[in-house]
């Protein structure tokens, strides 16, 4: 099946990435969290505003060990998504609090600032060598 071409940068929507952390005493799976987030957004914002927020949870950045992850949404709806995150009090029968660590403009800065990823280039820079 043929895909439509990607839009030019001027026509795309601006997006923000919300980095969050779940505070609980038990383990939480990715599916449980997505269910809780969608329910909270639908009940608080309604179908119309949830569609406007364009929420996506990035799957391969969710870490079940540290319980941290990234949500993508539109830049003028960040406060609304944040408010609906505050209204989550149970994730699959377990008491939980969702705490927002920060909001960034790109995925790579979210990784670098909050999720503790290091780039290979930074090792080269420490030793004073230029990247070939």
């Amino acid at each position: 099946m043929e895909k439509p071409k990607t839009l030019p940068p001027v026509l795309r929507e601006n997006e923000r990435y919300i980095v969050f952390e779940i505070i609980t005493e038990e383990d939480i799976e990715y599916e449980e969290f997505t269910k809780a987030l969608w329910l909270a957004c639908l009940s608080f914002l309604g179908e119309l505003y949830t569609s406007e927020a364009e929420i996506k949870i990035i799957k391969n950045l969710y870490n079940p060990r540290t319980k941290q992850g990234v949500i993508k949404c539109r830049y003028d709806m960040t406060e609304f998504v944040r408010a609906s995150l505050a209204l989550i009090n149970k994730i699959g029968n377990k008491d939980a609090i969702v705490k927002v660590l920060g909001i960034t403009g790109t995925i790579s800065s979210a990784k670098r600032k909050y999720l503790g990823f290091t780039e290979l280039e930074s090792f080269w820079k420490e030793e004073g060598k230029s990247v070939a």
């Binding site: 505070i23 608080f44 944040r82 408010a83 505050a86 939980a96 609090i97 705490k99 927002v100």
Partner: protein, 232 residues
Amino acid sequence: MHIEIKENLEEVVKFAKMLEYAGILIALNEHEINNEYEIKKIENLKKLAIENGIDIIIGLLIKPKNKEELKRVLDEFRKKVEIITVAGGIYEINRAACEDSRVDILYHPELGRNDSGLDHICIKAASENNVAIEINFNEILQAKNRPKILTFMRRNVKLCKKYGANVIITSGAKNKWEMRAPRELASIGYVLGLDLKTAIDSVSIIPENIIKTNREKLNGRLIKNVRIVDEF
């Protein structure tokens, strides 16, 4: 800043550190504030809190049945406690609390009502007497009919913006799982119609100023708008 009632206070302090709070207000009623055992328990807690860098404030929560009872309790306790709060819900009490400058915060004026509980006369008086109106997060979280409560809160916020009365957002938690980070509470204020700057002020600067001036008054450093800055 937030409001909190009893039970497992050590764990609450740990959670407050995790969520980056600067201070916790513990609300007691009239009988508990005269009880030495309760006061001693909180004094012990203060040592733990100072290690974690959190300020603990003791407040009085009045739940009066009528105007006269409110005035009597205010006469008795104003010169003893740091913060005095009134639990609203009845129109007579909401109005009496707004018209008294000895009250600091009015809690949930729309609790258990079919309207917002405040009108333009109340809010005008509140802005003259420096009484802050509270938005209670726990009430939104536990509500059975959430849209109804949100509309009443939205109306109160709109009136407060027009007449310049202070708005405060608190978590109102009764156990540790009902606490939320202060910035999340500010986003609730933004959703309810405050602009972003005042929403952030309502969880930081406004409660801080109330506590600061009240502590100065209790120490005798602030008497009728005259402040002792330095002594020679």
